[in-house]
């Protein structure tokens, strides 16, 4: 025990890395307790907290690997919400009725709102690096930050707008609910808000599909064609089963830190179990003759998507990758003078 400083009413004791400052001010005891933790002790405490189901907050100590994994995951998620609004907003002027137009506009607004929430979470994590959402947007334009593979696809008909709401949002609900218990508190809270709205999105999509499924032969054919076009994208949505396909995968590190619980393949299987019976009940045919449920393995057996195509998509070489990036880039660059003018006025 080292007694550093003894005054009549001010004593500091250092013992076992814990600094006790005992003193009185105006007759009131305002003693404090400080501990200088080593990196290893911090890590042990962090792991123990995560294991105990405690939530990590933005200003808490966290290992670099955790922070980097969260930044990658959440900035990609946030930017994807914004990029995902683009294929849907194409259908706002073309919606078949006023009610449908209001419905899809509300959905597009929600997606942008989700982007706002997630970028805030990412920005708080980016603070030690001095970066903000402007940097994330630049990373997107440079190709350093990816947006979700499903939003690189074209939407050709109104049935595609319905299919996105029903099955793409359905798939998104499965991946996002898997992270509702995430160890990082701000992300878990953002996801709770997002998932509550995704329920509306899924039902909005179901309503469009249901109307077409109960419509004319032409309309029924339209949703079948849409399903044929989107099936492979829906399989790719969850990502490859392991990192061997593309060389990297976030799933291992995110499971290790209790950000998510299930693997890509488990999520894909869960999507099959929930949606295949519903797709079939509407009289639709899934464009995969090999698809069946294997009772012995308790798994869905299916034709793998073309993972080479997936690799092209995630390099921004998908059907609509460059067109959507350009749309974002043009609007960002055209409006950049507003940000510049306002920043100049503030500083």
């Amino acid at each position: 025990m080292i007694i550093e400083n003894i005054l009549a009413i001010n004593i500091t004791i250092k013992y076992n890395n814990v600094k006790y400052t005992l003193y009185e001010k105006g007759g009131i005891n305002v003693s404090t307790l400080e501990k200088d933790f080593t990196e290893q002790e911090e890590l042990e405490k962090f792991v123990a907290r995560i294991e105990a189901g405690d939530k990590i907050e933005a200003d808490d100590w966290m290992p670099e690997e955790y922070r980097v994994a969260l930044i990658k995951l959440i900035s990609q998620h946030g930017i994807s919400e914004i990029m995902g609004a683009l294929p849907e907003k194409e259908w706002v002027p073309k919606a078949p009725s006023l009610r449908r137009k209001l419905g899809i506009m509300a959905k597009v607004q929600d997606e942008m709102g989700h982007g706002q929430l997630l970028l805030r979470v990412a920005e708080d994590l980016l603070k030690p690096y001095g970066k903000d959402r402007g940097d994330l947007m630049q990373d997107l334009f440079n190709g350093d930050l990816k947006f979700h593979n499903v939003f690189h696809m074209a939407t050709n008909t109104w049935a595609d707008a319905g299919m996105i709401g029903w099955l793409v949002d359905g798939a998104a609900i499965i991946t996002q609910t898997n992270m509702l218990g995430a160890s990082y508190g701000p992300y878990a809270r953002a996801l709770h808000r997002i998932c509550a709205e995704e329920v509306f999105h899924a039902q909005h999509g179901e309503a469009i599909i249901m109307a077409l499924a109960e419509g004319t032969e032409e309309q029924k054919q339209m949703i079948q064609e849409s399903l044929n076009d989107w099936w492979e994208a829906l399989l790719m949505f969850f990502g490859p089963a392991s990192s061997t396909t593309t060389g990297t995968s976030k799933q291992d590190v995110t499971i290790k830190y209790k950000i998510r619980t299930s693997t890509n393949e488990e999520l894909r299987q869960s999507f099959f179990s929930k949606y295949i019976p519903r797709i079939l009940s509407l009289g639709l045919t899934i464009p995969d003759p090999t698809l069946h449920f294997d009772e012995e393995q308790q798994l869905w057996v299916y034709q793998q998507p073309d993972w080479n195509k997936f690799k092209q998509i995630i390099r921004n070489n998908g059907p609509r990758s460059q067109a959507r990036l350009n749309l974002r880039r043009v609007s960002y660059e055209t409006n950049a003078w507003v940000l510049d003018a306002l920043s100049a006025a503030v500083n």
Partner: protein, 117 residues
């Protein structure tokens, strides 16, 4: 690190669902001033659920706890004289006098007047 030029400030948003409910933290947002923060709060977080009031608070004005201070929040389990737990033995005593204990559940049920009075 050089401070980047930005006109955005960080605001925390609180709102209450009904006039009688407590304020609840919603989320944070970026806005150039409190007026815009109020508009953005409604756009971002109050598109559906009912809302009775909204607060926006600049993060700079929030005094939170430091890591060290959080450690001091740990309670010692030696304050049962402050809680009903410390007086639980009364239940048995009242039973001896053939009376029911007026516990928290019973007392809080008196809200709005007792119909049997």
């Amino acid at each position: 690190m050089e401070q980047k030029k930005t006109f955005y400030q960080e605001f925390e948003v609180f709102s209450k669902r009904t006039p009688s409910s407590p304020f609840q933290h919603q989320f944070s947002l970026l806005a150039p001033n409190a007026e815009m923060a109020m508009v953005m709060a409604q756009e971002n977080f109050m598109r559906r659920d009912p809302v009775a009031d909204i607060w926006v608070v600049n993060r700079e004005h929030i005094r939170g706890l430091t890591k060290e201070e959080k450690v001091t929040l740990q309670r010692l389990d030696n304050k049962d004289y402050r809680t009903t737990k410390g007086y639980g033995y009364l239940k048995k005593k009242w039973r001896h006098y053939e009376q029911q204990m007026l516990d928290e559940k019973e007392i809080l049920s008196w809200a709005g007047g007792n119909k049997n009075d």
